[in-house]
């Protein structure tokens, strides 16, 4: 197989905790703590986990919207963390982001046309104003909106339509990778499915790869080819979507899957109810971070962090059960 489009190796983002009058650093929140994965050309890599697991920080660190504190991000053969300002600006053409909140992610004072022209102007694409206008209309049609509405402001659109505009903005620079950070979680189910279908269509048409970040397992399963499950700043399991759902290996993945309510009143299953809450990422438990809530906890789990291992072809897990 050819070189993956994006290789993330041991990515770390530690936020310092500052205390006292002198603002001295008294420890770190390990939001992302050694995350590694690959994204192949044209595939969707899902990143799933509960709030505070570091999935959004991972996404934004890849784009350097948040500056990572460690690890490597190799995109298209180049180490993104070593790029200078102007090189980084050029790189942003190839890597884009779609945000969760369709209300906060569009500048309320710009018309849709201005919003979509902005990336073209920044990168000097499509020469003159007439050409840009045509491209804006094209982009809107691509995401299923009428080009005739380009002179309207974001507040004149519904949540789902705004999310389409956000996607169109990302597409304006013809990226090869889009980080989609909870792109449908603010939307109603019927609109959510429209946007998921759109993302699917765009991938087929333009061969864009996605890193799809979400907390909703059904959504991630639907859209992803491969999925990484995050817990307290680490990926605990990584597997192809179908395999992950039919045979989850890590006890956390098992619990997560069994907790999803199934829209079928006659569906019966064994539910694993996790005890307690997510521990604080500033004081993660010793050994395996998951051991205090794990139903299969062994002695070794309390003291030693499990190794990240490929237990079956293309299936990775960090758990002592598989050592």
């Amino acid at each position: 197989m050819s070189e993956p489009l994006l290789q993330v190796r041991g990515l770390e983002k530690y936020f310092p905790i500052k205390k006292g009058v002198m603002r001295l650093t008294r420890g770190h929140v390990r939001a992302v703590d050694g995350v590694s994965f690959d994204v192949r050309e044209g595939e969707t890599f899902g990143l799933v986990g509960e709030s505070g697991c570091g999935k959004s920080t991972t996404g934004r660190s890849i784009l350097r919207l948040i500056e990572p504190t460690g690890g490597q991000i190799i995109f298209n053969g180049k180490d993104v963390r070593k790029l200078g300002r102007s090189e980084m600006r050029k790189m942003r053409r190839d890597m884009q982001i779609v945000f969760q909140d369709p209300y906060a992610s569009l500048n309320p004072r710009y018309t849709v046309r201005q919003i979509l022209e902005e990336p073209m102007i920044i990168h000097g694409l499509y020469g003159g104003s007439a050409e840009r206008k045509k491209k804006v209309a094209d982009l809107l049609e691509t995401v299923g909106l009428s080009g005739s509405r380009m002179n309207r402001y974001p507040h004149e659109f519904s949540g789902g339509q705004r999310q389409r505009i956000g996607i169109a903005r990302a597409l304006a620079v013809n990226p090869r990778l889009i980080i989609a950070d909870e792109p449908v979680s603010a939307l109603d189910v019927s609109v959510q499915s429209q946007v998921l279908n759109l993302l699917d269509d765009l991938q087929k048409e333009f061969g864009i790869a996605y890193v799809f970040i979400a907390h909703d397992l059904s959504v991630v399963k639907h859209i992803s080819d491969r999925i990484g499950v995050m817990y307290l700043g680490k990926i605990v399991e990584l597997a192809p979507a179908d395999g992950l759902y039919s045979k989850p290996l890590h006890p956390y993945t098992q619990a997560l899957l069994s907790a999803v309510p199934v829209p079928d009143p006659e569906f019966k299953r064994e539910r694993i109810i996790l005890q307690g809450d997510l521990p604080s990422p500033s004081k993660p438990p010793t050994g395996c971070h998951f051991h205090p809530r794990c139903k299969d906890c062994m002695e070794i789990c309390k003291t030693t962090a499990p190794e990240w291992k490929e237990v079956e072809p293309d299936r990775f897990v960090a758990c002592h059960l598989y050592n």
Partner: protein
């Protein structure tokens, strides 16, 4: 089973720049003793306005224009404020979506739980505190004796929602209205809270009105379901009928647009278009502009709730022409 709550023909309007506009219209349903009723719909369908109308906690610009809400046979609409206060918290309790903002940050948890006991039951300070600890244990909070003297900011979202439930349970209400109680929570915490609600319902013999947009939660928790769209009840029936034989095209669309965990869907089905705005409510069926089966009749004439089978109704002309190919 006897009827606990009977909502009939309730219309609630809100003042806007264009005058009073109804947010819910002619909403009717009943909740029986010991039953869980799910109210499901997307944002803006009026499900929260329905619960606020029952509690009469509408904002100043809203009012119940028509209809009756009977609780245990007693009419609640038009009740004086001090009479209604005795119902709230005592007979009917409510929990909200946002556990982070629904607890008062400046009071200790014990005091917040004890408050309704002191108001409604005349408990003394020590008595209320003892009961608060008992309630915290009931909702599964570890170290209840310590937590009772803590402030809310020390608790996680899931723990706060447990405290909210403890507050709601304080006076043994006969009806618990839960407005999106798990929407702000993570899926594993949601499972804990739903489990707790199920357990409490069985132990305390109460009824639950569960408002949610999540059809998975409905399927797991509810006995009967009311589906709302654009301020109207469009379908109601018991949970198996709704999921096995969804009859309103909106319910059908909703059910088929959720991604499923099991199996592989190449493409999700979706409902085109958007919910009409309050100002631009169509005269006929409110779903007609998005409906694949809409006819001229749907555009001009609004259907009433028509029987599908037994206690299963749908507000759709298709029910009127049984046998016509769908």
């Amino acid at each position: 089973m006897s009827t606990l709550l009977e909502v009939s023909g309730v219309t609630t309007s809100f003042k806007t720049a264009n005058g009073f506009l109804p947010a819910i219209e002619d909403v009717s349903f009943t909740i029986k003793k010991g039953e869980t009723l799910g109210i499901v719909g997307e944002s803006g369908c009026g499900k929260s306005v329905t619960s606020l109308s029952i509690m009469q906690l509408l904002t100043a610009n809203g009012k119940i224009e028509r209809g009756s809400i009977r609780f245990n046979g007693r009419e609640l609409v038009g009740l004086k404020d001090n009479e209604m206060r005795k119902v709230r918290g005592n007979d009917i309790a409510m929990i909200f979506q946002e556990p982070m903002t629904s607890l008062n940050p400046v009071h200790k948890i014990g005091r917040q739980i004890g408050e309704s006991l002191r108001i409604h039951k005349g408990y003394g300070k020590a008595q209320a505190r003892a009961k608060a600890i008992e309630l915290l244990k009931l909702v599964g909070i570890p170290r209840a004796e310590e937590i009772v003297d803590e402030y809310p900011h020390r608790l996680s979202g899931g723990m706060r929602q447990r405290v909210m439930i403890a507050i709601a349970m304080a006076c043994n209400p006969q009806l618990l209205i839960a407005d999106e109680p798990t929407t702000a929570l993570d899926v594993t915490i949601q499972a804990q809270i739903l489990d707790l609600m199920r357990k409490l319902k069985a132990e305390l013999d109460m009824s639950i009105m569960l408002i949610t947009h999540d059809l998975g939660v409905v399927a797991e928790m509810c006995d009967r379901v009311v589906v709302m769209y654009a301020g109207k009840v469009v379908e109601q029936g018991n949970v198996k009928d709704i999921f096995r034989n969804p009859s309103h095209p909106y319910t059908v669309g909703l059910l088929s647009s959720i991604p499923r965990l099991e199996g592989r869907q190449e493409r999700l089905s979706s409902i085109p278009g958007n919910v009409p705005s309050l100002e631009l409510m169509p005269a006929g069926c409110r779903f007609a502009s998005r409906c694949p089966h809409a006819t001229q009749r749907c555009v001009t004439e609004e259907p009433s709730l028509l029987p599908v089978s037994g206690e299963h109704d749908a507000r759709c002309w298709l029910m009127d022409e049984k046998g016509v190919a769908v």
